[in-house]
């Protein structure tokens, strides 16, 4: 977790990396109940504009979740906000890197609010998810 003294504008959150494979996508499909064929049916997915299987958006978003947990512990589970846009699909074989940079720190009576730019990029550096997280840490 980030130490309080390291909470500064411009500070980077510890990155979280994950390589996707078909097995993890299939596991997520079963765990989440999302059996959309674009994620599990190679023949169907090949006929779409994506040209093949893509990972669930929520599976990719979980990388950002794990990055926030590594940075803030379970404190971010409560009184936080996430706003993200899915910019590109993630595919089997992609290595994803979830990153965050502290943009602002706001103090109030309840504690502090840490505002971060967040992103998840593939091995080519292409953004798969971009957005913002606001994590409120109690005093």
């Amino acid at each position: 977790m980030i130490k309080p003294d390291d909470l500064k504008k411009g500070a980077e959150l510890p990155a979280f990396r994950k390589t996707l494979d078909r097995a993890s996508i299939d596991l997520y499909a079963r765990a989440s109940g999302d059996l959309n064929p674009i994620h599990v049916d190679e023949e169907f997915a090949r006929q779409t504009r994506f040209g093949g299987i893509i990972a669930h958006g929520m599976l990719v978003l979980s990388c950002i979740g794990q990055m926030l947990t590594a940075a803030f512990g379970s404190a971010w589970f409560d009184r936080s906000e996430l706003y993200i846009r899915f910019k590109a699909p993630a595919r089997p074989g992609d290595t994803l890197s979830a990153n965050g940079i502290i943009r602002d720190i706001r103090h109030n009576d309840e504690g502090i609010e840490v505002v971060c730019s967040i992103s998840c990029r593939n091995q080519k550096g292409e953004p798969v998810i971009i957005g913002e997280a606001k994590v409120k840490i109690r005093a």
Partner: protein, 138 residues
């Protein structure tokens, strides 16, 4: 979620303001464990707390289970506001509404607003998600 051919509300019936049937489910330890395994998280940091993105994933599945969506839909964006925590064993109640629907030639853009309560009636999460449904060609 039901794919074309299965019982459910056709997505074509969804209009702005349409309230999805309320969905209720229990956060079972096995389901949470399966989710954590699937995302590659050992869960050691959580105790019996359930990561919010797991709750969101289960909730979206539960809400969309009453709607026949076309295969090939993808998410475009998501906004999530967290106001409480969920634990293994909690009963979750999900509310959803179509907040926006825009049709183009080849696809439909849907925005769903949702809120999630646990058994105490406390709202622990609310937000929205955008979906693109291909309606002709893929």
């Amino acid at each position: 979620m039901p794919i074309d051919g299965e019982p459910g509300i056709p997505y074509t019936d969804l209009k702005e303001g349409f309230a999805l049937p309320t969905a209720t489910f229990r956060l079972e330890a096995s389901a949470v464990a399966d989710y954590l395994k699937a995302v590659g998280d050992d869960g050691r940091a959580y105790g019996d707390l359930v990561p919010p993105l797991a709750v969101a994933a289960f909730a979206l599945k539960a809400l969309s289970s009453s709607v026949v969506m076309l295969p090939g839909l993808v998410y475009t964006e998501a906004k999530i506001e967290l106001s409480g925590v969920a634990r293994v064993g909690d009963t979750i109640k999900c509310f959803g509404k179509v907040s926006r629907k825009v049709k183009w030639d080849d696809f439909t853009l849907l925005t769903l607003a949702f809120s999630i309560q646990k058994q105490s009636g406390e709202t622990i999460m609310k937000g929205g998600t955008g979906l693109i449904l291909p309606t002709s060609g893929l």
